[in-house]
Symmetry: C2
C-alpha cells in the first residue's frame, strides 16, 4: 500500500499580484518540503488571485499569467524545490488547436479563450496542465462569461500514486471529473478551490467531499484559499478524506496554514498496468512524474488524525472572523492602513468599530461621534464608552453649526431635514478620510439595506461595509458573542451593554425609533431571509406564515430601495444571497408581488 | 406568389408591468388590424419588459407571465382580434418533461428552468410557442444565468405562408435557428428582439439581417423594442428585408411605430407538401394557423418601398436621442416627473440640462447654480444664460457659508478641501431633490468616470447620469450639434457658446483647469477607447501609438477609480463597453499593465 505525504497550502493570494503570489507559492512550497511532503497543492488560480472577473478577457493579463507560471517553475527549481511536485491554479488560454476544450458551441467567450487552469510544476518545468470542466455561472459567479471549459482529465503519477486533478465546481457537479477519476483508476483526487465563505458552508463541504470521495472511489484532498477579495471572503477549511469518508486532516478556517497528511493509498485494481501506453481511458491524459514509490516510512505523529484535524468554527465565531478577515484584507490589499467610522452610540457602529479594531488595531481606527440636537445623552456616552473600551482614536464633532448653515440657505423639512443631518455627517467623515488617508467604513446592516432604511450619501458613505450582509438580529448576536468572547479571554468587552440593549433609533428626530417605520427586527429578518435569499413570492410568503400587510409593506420597501443598493459599498458576503452581484435586479421595475 | 401584410409593432414596454404591457399589445394589435395586417409581431419579452435579470428566477414572476399570456390571448379575442395572429415575447418555464430544452448539462439554472420565449396568439388561445436557442452571456447580458435554451424551431403556417420564429441572439449566431429555417423551407423568418442601442449598431444590424436572410433563404423581419430600461436604451430600428437583401421597410429609431410591409413571398420549393404530417424536419415543430392564402390584393402605396423605409439617424443626432429617451423613460417608468441638476456653467452640466429639458420639459427641470469663492464670474453668467435659453427653473445657492461651517469644525486642506466644496453642493442638491421630489441628475462624463476625476458623494450624487457613457470629446460634439439643430429649426440654441469654447475646469481652487492633471481630452479619449472598450494591454497601447508615460499615468488612474465607479449612478449605454455590468473588474487588484 503506497504511502504519500501530501501538503495542502491554504494561502491568501492578492488579486493581480503575479510576482507576489509566485513568491507566496515558493515560500509555502519550501515549508512543504521542510515538512517532508512528497506533493504540495495550492488553491484555484493562486497565481492570479480569484475571482479575476473580466481581467480574464485582457490578453495582456492572460499572457502575464502564463509567463509567470513558467518563471515560477524555474524559480522553484532554483530554490532547490525541483523534486517536489507543486500543483498551482493559474489563468491560461486554450490551445490554439482547440485541444482540451469542451464543446463551446453556445459559449461566446471572446479573445483567446481564457481557461481556469491548474498546472503541475516539476524540475523547473510545467509537466502537466488541467482546465476546469464545470464553470459556475450562478450567484456571484460569471465563469461562462470569461472562461471556456476543459474536456480532458489530467492524471499525474507521483511516487507510484495516480493523482487526478480537478478544480472547485468540478467537485460540486455530478459526473464529469469525479466520474472520470473513478474510470481512470486514480488513487487520489486533488481539488483546487476558490470557494467563498457562507455561513455553515463548512458542514456542506464536509458532506460533499465525503460523497464525492465515494463516487471517485479514492481519497480526496480539497485545498481552498483564505482571505478577502472585495465582497468575498475565502475561509480555507481545506480537508482530506479517505475513500471511505474518514476525515484525515482539516485546516483551521480563515488562517494561512499548511495541512500535512500522511496517506496510505491502496492501489486501484487497474493500477499495475495503468500508464499512458497501456491503459488509455477516453478523455484522460496521463503524465508520469515519478514511478518509484516512497520507501516505507513511519508517519509523523504530528500529521496523524486527529492531530491534523482542526475543528471548524461555530456560529457567531465563524461569521465574526469572516468579517474581520474581509475587512483586514480589503484594507491591506488596497494599500491602506487605517479606517475611520462614525460612532452613533448605536449597535451597528459599535460592532463595526470592534471589527475594525480587531482587523487593523485600535491605533489605526478613528471613531468620530457627530451628535446633533436630536442625539440623546446616552448615545454620546455610549460612543465615548466604546472608544474607551477599544482604545481607538476618538473625536467629537457636533454637527449643529453645519446643519444650520444649510437650513439658512435651503428650505428643508421632514425627511429632507432628517437626511440633511446624515449627509452632514457623511461630509465630515469623508473629509477626515480624505485629509488623513483612512478607509471610510459604512455601517448599514443587511436589514437596513434591504428596506432602504438609510440616507444615500449620508450614513451610507464609505468604501467598505463590514455589515452589508449581516441582518440586524445577527448584529446583536455577534455583539453579544464578541463581548462574551472577551470575557472568556479575560479582556474588556469592546461593546457597551447599553448599545446592545437599547431600542434602535436613527435619532434624526425627537423620540424616533426604528420600529416607528419597520416591523420588529426578528420578524423583519425572517421575512427578508425568505424574500431576499429565498426569492419567495407573495403566496409563498403567506404560506410561510407572514401576514399580508407585513409582506406587502416590506416587499415594497425592498423593491423600491434597489437604486440605493446599486450605489452601496461592497462588504463581505456571509449569506447564500448577498446584495450585489449575487442578486441582480432591475432598478426600474413595476413588478409587485401583490399582483401575482 | 402568396401575399402577406406584415406589421411589426415597435413598442416601449415597462419592465414588470404585465398588465400595462398586455394593454400595450392590445392597443397596437388593434392598430395592426386597422392597417389590414395579416400578422403582427412584438419585441422579445414585450409582456414582461426586458431584461428582467434575476426576476426570471422568481417563481411568482414566471407564473404571472404565463398567466398574463393566456389572459392576453383571451382579451385579444374579446377585442375582436382573434383572427389576427399576434406574436409576442414573454417569460416562460421549460416544460416539466424537459421537452424543447437543449442540452443543459453544464448550466446550473435553478428553480423551474425559466425560458426566454415567444408565443403565437390566435382565436383566444396560445397556439404555438418557441424558446430562444442562443443565450447571450457577454457584455451586459447574463442569459446563461437565468434561462435554459430551447432546442426546437417553431414554424407557423399563416395564410399559406410558413413563418419561422426566432429571438434576438438566435440571429447573431451562425447556424441554429437560421439554418433550421432554411432546412424547414420557411418563407419568412420573424425575429423578436430586445437589442440595446450602441453607436452605429444600426449599420451592423442592416448587414446582419441581409446576410441571415440569404442564409435562411427567405425574407426576414426584425422587430425591436424602443425605450429606456436602467442603463440600456432600445432604439427600435425594426427592419424587413427580402430573401435577396432588399430593405422593404424600416422603422424610425427611438419612437414607437407600427411598421407595415406588403410582402410577396415566393413559395419554397418544398412548400407544397410541407406540413406536420407530410414533411417532418428534425427539430422543427409545425403549427397551421391558416392554410388559406390571402386573396390577391393591391399593396397600399403607403406601405410600399421607399414609403416605409425610414432613414436611420446619423452621428450625434442618434446619440442625443438615445440620451433623451434613456432619461425620459427612467423618470417616467420610475413614477417621477421632474429632475434637478447642478449648473456649474461648464459644458457637462449644460448638456445634461439641455437633455433634461428635451426629455421632461423645462417646467420640470430645476437647475441650481452653487457658486463658491473659486467660481469665476463667467461661470455664474454662463449658468444663468443656460437657464434663460432653456426656460428651466433656475436657482442660486452660494455655498460659502456651508463650506465655512465645515472648515470651522474640521481641519481640511488641499484635495480634502476641494472635495468638501463638491460635497456641500451634493448635500444641497439632494436636499432639494428630497424636499421637492425631483430625480437628481449627476453629470460626470465617461472620461471623468474613467480616470476618477470627480468627488464621490460630491458631484457624483444622483440617481441617473445621462453622460455616464459619453466621452468628453463627444460631450462637446453633442453640444455643438444640439445648438446647430436648434438653429436649423429656428429655435434658440440651449447651450451658451462660452460653455462650449472655454477651457474645462472643476473650479475647486484658483486657476484650476482639467488639463493640470489630465492629458488633453482628445488624446485621453482615444487612449480610453482602446483601454476601456478595447481592453488593450500596455504593449498594444504602445503599438497604438501612445507614449509610455501617458499610458502608465492614465491606466493607473483608470484602475484606481474602480471603487468610485462601483458606487456610481446608472446611465444610458451608447458605446460597445459601458461602465457597469458591461465591464466587471475587481476593485482590489494589484495588476498593473506596466508589469506585462
Amino acid at each position: 500500500m503506497p504511502q504519500l505525504r501530501l501538503a495542502l497550502a491554504q494561502v491568501d493570494p492578492t488579486l493581480g499580484d503575479l510576482a507576489g503570489n509566485a513568491a507566496l507559492v515558493r515560500e509555502w512550497a519550501a515549508k512543504a518540503r521542510d515538512a517532508g511532503a512528497h506533493l504540495v497543492a495550492f488553491p484555484e488560480m493562486v497565481l492570479t488571485g480569484y475571482p479575476v472577473e473580466d481581467l480574464a478577457l485582457r490578453t495582456s493579463f492572460v499572457d502575464a499569467s502564463r509567463v509567470a507560471l513558467e518563471r515560477l517553475a524555474a524559480d522553484l527549481a532554483a530554490d532547490g524545490l525541483g523534486d517536489l511536485p507543486v500543483v498551482v491554479g493559474y489563468l491560461d488560454r486554450a490551445d490554439a488547436d482547440g485541444d482540451n476544450v469542451a464543446d463551446v458551441d453556445r459559449l461566446g467567450v471572446p479573445k483567446g479563450s481564457p481557461q481556469n487552469a491548474a498546472a503541475v510544476l516539476v524540475g523547473g518545468r510545467v509537466v502537466a496542465r488541467y482546465a476546469k470542466h464545470h464553470l459556475p455561472n450562478y450567484g456571484v459567479f460569471d465563469e461562462f462569461r470569461i472562461f471556456v471549459p476543459g474536456r480532458d482529465l489530467t492524471v499525474v503519477r507521483v511516487r507510484d500514486v495516480d493523482v487526478a486533478i480537478a478544480i472547485c465546481e468540478d467537485l460540486w457537479q455530478e459526473g464529469g471529473p469525479v466520474a472520470q477519476t473513478r474510470a481512470a483508476g486514480a488513487e487520489l483526487l486533488l481539488v483546487l478551490n476558490g470557494s467563498p465563505y457562507e455561513t455553515d458552508k463548512d458542514d456542506v463541504r464536509r458532506d460533499l467531499v465525503t460523497r464525492r470521495a465515494a463516487e471517485a472511489g479514492c481519497a480526496l484532498a480539497y485545498v481552498n484559499m483564505v482571505g478577502g477579495q472585495d465582497d468575498l471572503v475565502f475561509d480555507g477549511d481545506s480537508i482530506v478524506v479517505s475513500a471511505g469518508g474518514d476525515v484525515l486532516g482539516r485546516a483551521r478556517q480563515f488562517s494561512q496554514a499548511l495541512l500535512v497528511v500522511d496517506l496510505d493509498l491502496p492501489h486501484d485494481p487497474a493500477h499495475a498496468t495503468a500508464s499512458d501506453a497501456t491503459r488509455p481511458v477516453d478523455g484522460v491524459r496521463r503524465v508520469t512524474v515519478s514511478a518509484e514509490p516512497v520507501a516505507p516510512y513511519s508517519p509523523d505523529p504530528a500529521y496523524l488524525t486527529p492531530a491534523s484535524v482542526a475543528e471548524p468554527l461555530d456560529g457567531e465565531a465563524e461569521v465574526y472572523e469572516a468579517l474581520v478577515v474581509g475587512l483586514r484584507d480589503y484594507v491591506r490589499k488596497n494599500g491602506m492602513r487605517s479606517c475611520v467610522v462614525a460612532l452613533s452610540g448605536g449597535i451597528d457602529s459599535a460592532l463595526v468599530a470592534a471589527i475594525a479594531v480587531d482587523a487593523v488595531g485600535p491605533e489605526n481606527v478613528v471613531g468620530i461621534s457627530m451628535p446633533s440636537k436630536y442625539s440623546s445623552e446616552h448615545s454620546k456616552d455610549d460612543a465615548a464608552d466604546l472608544a474607551k473600551r477599544t482604545g481607538l482614536d476618538y473625536r467629537v464633532v457636533p454637527i449643529a453649526p453645519m446643519v444650520q448653515a444649510f437650513l439658512d440657505s435651503v428650505h428643508l423639512t421632514g425627511v429632507a431635514e432628517e437626511n440633511l443631518q446624515a449627509r452632514v455627517r457623511g461630509v465630515v467623515l469623508m473629509g477626515v478620510s480624505n485629509q488623513e488617508g483612512h478607509l471610510c467604513l459604512t455601517t448599514g446592516n443587511k436589514s437596513e439595506l434591504s428596506v432602504g432604511y438609510s440616507t444615500i450619501y449620508g450614513d451610507s458613505v464609505g468604501g467598505f461595509n463590514p455589515l452589508k450582509d449581516v441582518p440586524k438580529t445577527l448584529v446583536w448576536a455577534l455583539s453579544r458573542w464578541r463581548n462574551a468572547d472577551a470575557v472568556r479571554r479575560g479582556e474588556t468587552p469592546p461593546i457597551p451593554d447599553a448599545s446592545i440593549t437599547k431600542a434602535p433609533s436613527a435619532e434624526l428626530r425627537p423620540g424616533q425609533t426604528d420600529q416607528d417605520s419597520l416591523p420588529p427586527y426578528d420578524l423583519l429578518d425572517q421575512l427578508l431571509e425568505r424574500y431576499v435569499e429565498g426569492a419567495h413570492g407573495r403566496s409563498e410568503l403567506l404560506a410561510d406564515g407572514f401576514d399580508a400587510a407585513t409582506i406587502d409593506s416590506v416587499v415594497t420597501m425592498v423593491d423600491r430601495a434597489e437604486w440605493k443598493r446599486r450605489q452601496s459599498a461592497p462588504g463581505p458576503k456571509i449569506s447564500p444571497v448577498a446584495f450585489g452581484r449575487d442578486r441582480r435586479l432591475p432598478i426600474t421595475s413595476r413588478w409587485r408581488e401583490d399582483e401575482s
